[in-house]
Symmetry: D2
């Protein structure tokens, strides 16, 4: 590998071993920004990518969608102009920043303008997922990341360390979005199904949003303890309550027989969806955010689970800049005592990405962080 080359971990295709390759430095465009990667992350979606469970992925790819880095180079968009964040702050060499992995939401189509469903814009592309390695350094498992012109950049707020931010990772904006979508009212009882990164952040933000009690259901114990330290008031271990019926019964007992006001599914198991409906009270709200890949069907009873229950069910897909911004801002301000960084079980070098994937898949870690 030549001196100038950039090392990046590449997923060449489904089930193909992750390999580190050398790339030429990116050809910078006006408005483009080059980051030296500080940290990137491994999330459940990366495991799905590895197993080929997402459609339309342009392998080979450099995975890693949420990352944090230091600005190494900025090309002015035009003479005398600077690259600005949405907050209007200039992006300059040496700044510690993150960025919204979703790029090229067009803002000009029926979905963006009329449906106002930007996360479903057909034009959107995602760093580390829908950009090919052939298109450049567009993923976080790399020494450097090239931020194309227009990528939405955000400085890490004062007092928020890169470690604490990446410990939240993509779970931060995703969990935030789920809580926003839940419309939690002050004093609601909230159940979170799943104690992975999305579930952990859902606990954190549900607590911040004024829940009277946050109950997390998941496994293993390590993750549940993390949930308790981030905002959950109670943790239900799947080992102690192995059956869905038993868990539904327990939630009813904990809620005066009524069920949760709000339940947030962040587990990824299709069966959790039927279970979650049954844990939620009549006229309550159920948010489905964990089903990011197709793990098959589930049987529900539309009379009992939806109609008679007068239930609100809300799917929750993707994130927008507002979620990344508000989640990160709140983590800095209201999360001072939240030991998010303890969720990092291990740092992995670029050469250890395969191991990181395995550890995530087998729940051996809470958060696997890539340190290129």
């Amino acid at each position: 590998m030549s001196r100038n080359q950039v090392r990046a971990a590449v997923m060449a295709g489904p089930e193909k071993p992750i390999e580190v390759r050398g790339f030429p430095p990116p050809r910078m465009e006006p408005g483009g920004v080059l980051l030296r990667t500080v940290y990137s992350e491994v999330c459940g979606t990366d495991v799905h990518l590895y197993h080929g469970r997402l459609a339309g992925v342009p392998y080979p790819i450099i995975p890693g969608h949420v990352s944090v880095g230091i600005v190494e180079e900025v090309i002015p968009p035009a003479a005398g102009q600077e690259v600005l964040t949405p907050l209007g702050q200039p992006v300059r060499r040496g700044d510690l920043v993150t960025f919204l992995d979703v790029h090229e939401t067009c803002g000009r189509c029926w979905t963006c303008l009329v449906a106002k469903a930007a996360t479903r814009c057909p034009q959107r592309r995602v760093y580390g997922i829908t950009y090919s390695a052939l298109e450049g350094l567009l993923g976080g498992w790399s020494e450097k990341i090239y931020l194309k012109p227009g990528v939405l950049i955000m400085h890490l707020p004062d007092g928020l360390s890169a470690e604490k931010f990446i410990a939240g990772g993509c779970g931060l904006p995703t969990g935030f979005h789920a809580v926003e979508r839940a419309g939690i009212r002050l004093g609601d009882t909230v159940v979170v199904q799943g104690a992975g990164p999305v579930g952990l952040s859902a606990c954190f933000f549900a607590r911040l949003a004024g829940a009277r009690r946050v109950i997390v259901i998941g496994a293993p114990r390590l993750r549940l303890d993390m949930a308790l330290s981030l905002g959950a008031d109670e943790a239900v271990d799947l080992a102690d309550y192995p059956s869905p019926e038993g868990r539904v019964e327990l939630i009813r007992e904990l809620t005066a027989g009524r069920g949760a006001d709000v339940t947030i599914e962040a587990s990824g198991a299709p069966s959790a969806v039927a279970e979650g409906m049954r844990m939620t009270r009549d006229a309550g709200t159920y948010v489905v955010v964990g089903q990011y890949t197709d793990n098959g069907p589930v049987e529900i009873n539309p009379h009992l689970d939806i109609n008679r229950k007068h239930l609100d069910i809300r799917g929750c897909w993707g994130t927008e800049f507002t979620h990344l911004y508000r989640a990160t801002d709140l983590l800095a301000i209201r999360g001072r005592d939240a030991p998010y960084e303890q969720a990092i079980s291990r740092f992995y070098s670029l050469d250890e990405c395969q191991q990181a994937l395995l550890d995530v898949e087998h729940l051996r870690v809470i958060k696997a962080v890539i340190k290129p």
Copy 2:
């Protein structure tokens, strides 16, 4: 049967033949009102009652929940006072009125006061469904109906005939509630699954609510024609599109490939729920109002049908006074040209109630009206 006795059709138990019995005139309480029944109706719930598909029904019952009648007797609640409607109008002998079938919503429990989910109040009881014939003339298939103190009464608005009102029947407030719950925005494309009484009123109110296009899916042709004359712009006959995939495909074609902004399920078939999710556009809204009895489960795919689709699904149970009031008021004012009364396929005497049930069950009629 003695001179003074009141004749009423009684459902003695599941699958037992409907029989006409004589009842003594009710013992009137202060605030009570006695109606001479003009019309009552047969709805799908009555068929479920007949087959014993609802839990906790106190057979024998006098069916008939939505009815219209003429006031025959009013007992003042106290000296110098009158029985008043929620609009503040006195209820007097000779008035043509209807009433909310749901009674005894307590207004004092956690469900009513904190969840604000009055249709799920555990105290609520329903004329013609959860009152026993042993408790009195508390159903519409009867020469007279006793309105207990506190029943919410409404005068039929000027210009609205008893025939037109009962042709809508319980589909009016139920369809109205579904449309309210759908939150239709001006210019939305709305699909209604099912062309029974609820589906017909959903078409009527969806059109009134500003839909750019209302598409009804159902059968038989008779009902579809009725839907077209009440507000649907397009009718899809199940005979022409026998497969769910074909229907989903058709709706996509009719909506520039996107799916409906809003879909309202009013069919009662569990399989319609999966189909309806797939007919609805990304970030659209799906209301489930037709699953009033347990007809079994359905398989859905939580990734494709909810999460990735960013879908809103809203169960819709029961009705409140506001739905009856607004639906009836709008029928009178904005439905002048809507030929609702043509939905009445036949009038049945008390002695013909069994036949009426059969005709409803086998979709031989649109609306079966009881004329005691």
Copy 3:
């Protein structure tokens, strides 16, 4: 005063000195509950009552609308029945309870059923305000309080002392309602105008609801310090910023030039309303909850302050059981470290109520508590 008589402080009319009178014990009705008053409170409304600034008050009255007491006597509503709270818990002798001061909301009129605006129900009556002393012990400045049948009762939650509860007083449900009406989103910057009891609770609940920063504006210093200890992040002293323009300017500086996402008016000064509109960002939300009596008009500019600003302005009147319940519940659970009881500047005996009114009027106290 005879042995059995109950002592109560009476406001005989506007500007008439408060006097303590003896009343016969109440004639208990089925479902009625008698409380021995532990604490009642003096709030700004009591000052308005004293000066005759509210219309339709049936003087003489026993003031004191929010109170806490110990159950001394309960008359069963019917043989074998108990008086129940909305949570379904029986009310028994010795229980420490509070109750919703608003009573007789009818639940049967157009306002309740169609507009769903229960706090504007024409039938509603309020303990300590719209009940006359001639009707009984229906106010809190009394040794005993008679809870008429149907009054909505709530047990103080475990771990919540009577002192802490009454320190919040009517500001608790009122501030809660304002925050609910504000629809605060996670990460919003919230300004609260006014540091009286309503403003203090608005700070407390705004913080709980996920505000990134709560800024209180008020005086004197004592109250601002209290606000800081209850949840405000920043306090603006009117002494330091005496002009409305200066305060608007300051809020803009503190919010990157944009203004607050949400502003809550809890000051009672009409001029605060124009000021508050100007402090709020474009497309933000402004809640007006402090204008409980007519203190005259204010001049606004509808182009600049409303239309061009795309502002949401929300009046907020009265409280319902849900507000009392959720506010008290959250105070118990999430307010463990909130030193609410320090807001009690002084306890007053029944004979000192006149003094208490004066102290409240002249802002010499934060919270004046009556201990009969």
Copy 4:
């Protein structure tokens, strides 16, 4: 004026006579579109522009923000690409189109991304208002209009004539936005203050949105008759009800003493705002959309008009593509019988623009249309 020159009417500055000038044909950019103007319009904002009542206008300008034209030239954005509308349809020579006058909403700032208040984006610019004539043919009072790359274009729907569309003009999306913001519920009574183009479209869309009754208040008779033919059920002539108190009293009489569920201010008079608050029922909604320029202050009573009334007040600024699209689509589909084109009192040539302004200012016309 040379052969190739484009004639356009220019407003050189406040109170300066409108003059027709010749401009060179625009220098077309990739993605740019040239229209031959079919119609443009004169609206109240143009009168404000003429009197210099808007801040920051870059005189000289070519007025005319909403227009309709035929595509004369299209420059592909890139080789092999076409200019597309948000609906995905190519824009081609000969097409009859309109376009959103608001351009350059950035979609990248805090206001766009976090506040989601696109109509308040600081970058937005408006054809005919905030573009200078020195920048090109960027207003409708011109033989040709240059649509810069990125302008949001919409084909006129089949069956909708250019005359009918321009008769609605900018009142269409503005009135639509106001009705959307009002959140009209099926069966609401709606009052519209003002019978100018915005008020007329507010009547049209309020009716479509399911109002039980639409009452318009305005003058002169000509406009009221137009309102009645577009959807109003009742018209109140200012000549018959000259005092605000009389009008408030009348609305109360027409609404069973309660006031309107929803009131929409579309008059432009500051005094209308206080009046409108008083016409609206307790817990109703008041939309302020008519105050597009600063006509001075108004006195309101925050206790009576906002707080005690529990009123929702919603400012409504600007329009987005969704409003133009949905309004135009609905006009084509649901407005077939609405005689919008009768609102055009007169067509004016470019040389008659001064006269058109005068006629609009003095209410001598309903809609003045420019036919270059």
